[in-house]
């Protein structure tokens, strides 16, 4: 099981402090909910954990290995962040197949299971360009889940979903937690992180 540790992590972007001296240890089998207003640094924190940005100061450790030095990215990770777009000219199923070819850990059944879990059974063989915003968000969740990752970093996973959709996502996350995955999810609203075991607040780049 993977654990993630931030040690005095600071990130500056063009002299603006977006993460301010964050030290925190994330444990496996736990859901962490990070809430905060726009520009508070939630997304940056998630990107830092996922290895997508480099700390200006401090270190990110994944299972005792230094991120960006010992390893480029956390090895076994599922990710949802803004602007990620799957290939519109492929079907939902083919998109996951294309991604599955990289790690080679997911079978055809894993792909189908993930698509069923997120409720895309009727459209999994339709091209992504025909999907609604909500369907695209579900497919995004499927791509994050289908390889059964030990780390899940989810930036506003219930975005564009109705109440029923959000509820089903919350249930999926609870199942993933039971499997032993460490989940970090962010939101603007406290309601969205009610399922979290640990609720964290972010403001002006600091984690409380």
């Amino acid at each position: 099981m993977e654990s993630v540790e931030l040690r005095h992590v600071t990130k500056k972007i063009r002299s603006r402090l977006v993460l301010d001296d964050i030290t925190y240890q994330f444990e496996p089998g736990t859901i962490y909910g990070v809430v905060g207003p726009n520009g508070s640094g939630k997304t940056m924190l998630l990107r830092m954990l996922a290895g997508l940005i480099h700390p200006s100061e401090g270190e990110v450790m994944i299972n005792g290995r230094l991120l960006h030095k010992d390893i480029s990215f956390p090895g076994n990770m599922g990710l949802i962040i803004e602007h990620i777009s799957l290939l519109p000219y492929l079907t939902g199923r083919d998109n996951l197949r294309a991604l599955a070819r990289i790690r080679k850990v997911a079978s055809e059944k894993d792909i189908e299971d993930a698509l069923l879990r997120v409720g895309l059974e009727k459209v999994m063989d339709s091209k992504v360009k025909t999907y609604s915003l909500g369907m695209k968000q579900r497919l995004n969740l499927a791509q994050a889940l289908f390889e059964r990752p030990e780390l899940l970093f989810l930036d506003e996973p219930t975005n564009a979903l109705d109440e029923r959709g959000s509820e089903s996502i919350r249930n999926i996350l609870l199942e993933e937690k039971k499997r032993g995955a460490m989940i970090v999810l962010t939101s603007h609203h406290m309601d969205d992180i009610q399922i979290a075991d640990v609720q964290l607040k972010m403001a002006e780049g600091r984690l409380y």
Binding site: R47, H83, L86
Partner: protein, 236 residues
């Protein structure tokens, strides 16, 4: 995307028009090899004509490709990178895509010129031999490497600045090329865009080995810098 395609289409139309209006009259008694619009018929001493003919279309092509690398890396590329896809994959894929794209653009230009030739009954002879083949290959490789250079710059700076730099470089290399191509200075091997104009190279007597070394050197430098920057950049 539609705007980019529209600009490229209009650019192609203007480029073909330039050939028939300005270049063709200079070669009244010579059969113009139609499939080689980009590389033949431009005298290396004529800066203004070369700029209009040799640079303008290149500018359209750079605009068409603007931001492609950044959009890919910050979108779908993140899913590949986070799954441990090799950095070198992005470099190879990027260059392959550019070459395919430039070949399609070239084909589009040739097709449009053939259609225009037929419609206006201009009587231009179509010819294709090994000389034209070398010239066309040189145009495709040179333009591809320059677009690749533009995409490498986009990893370091905003795409608008990168496209501006590559276009200023294109203009300067053609203007300076008029003076340095015929001389002994090694600067001629850095005036890259001239390599896309086969007639210029032929008339100036630039060494083929020098051209190939320059192209290969630039390609290697772009690959290394891109690799380094893909590894260390922030995916915001």
């Amino acid at each position: 995307m539609k705007i980019r395609v529209g600009i490229l289409f209009i650019g192609t139309l203007i480029q073909v028009g330039l050939l028939f209006m300005f270049i063709r009259p200079l070669y009244r008694n010579v059969a113009l090899p139609l499939p080689l619009l980009n590389v033949y018929g431009v005298r290396y001493t004529d800066s203004i004509l070369v700029l209009a003919y040799g640079y303008f279309y290149f500018g359209c092509i750079t605009f068409f490709h603007m931001g492609a690398m950044r959009r890919f890396l910050d979108g779908y590329g993140i899913l590949l990178l986070s799954r441990g896809k090799e950095y070198s994959y992005f470099i190879v894929k990027q260059f392959a895509q550019i070459v395919v794209s430039v070949c399609i653009i070239y084909g589009m230009e040739v097709a449009m010129s053939i259609v225009m030739n037929r419609i206006f009954n201009l009587g231009v002879a179509v010819r294709f031999s090994s000389v034209e083949f070398i010239g066309a290959t040189l145009w495709i490789v040179t333009v591809s490497i320059l677009v690749w250079m533009q995409m490498m710059l986009e990893l370091f700076m905003p795409e608008t600045v990168a496209v501006l730099i590559i276009n200023i470089y294109g203009i300067i290399s053609i203007i300076i090329g008029t003076h340095v191509l015929a001389g002994g200075s090694l600067w001629k091997y850095l005036c890259f865009l001239n390599f896309a104009l086969y007639a210029r190279i032929q008339e100036s007597g630039v060494q083929w080995t020098g051209i190939l070394l320059s192209l290969a050197g630039h390609a290697a430098a772009i690959a290394l810098l891109s690799y380094h920057q893909i590894q260390r950049r922030d995916y915001l």
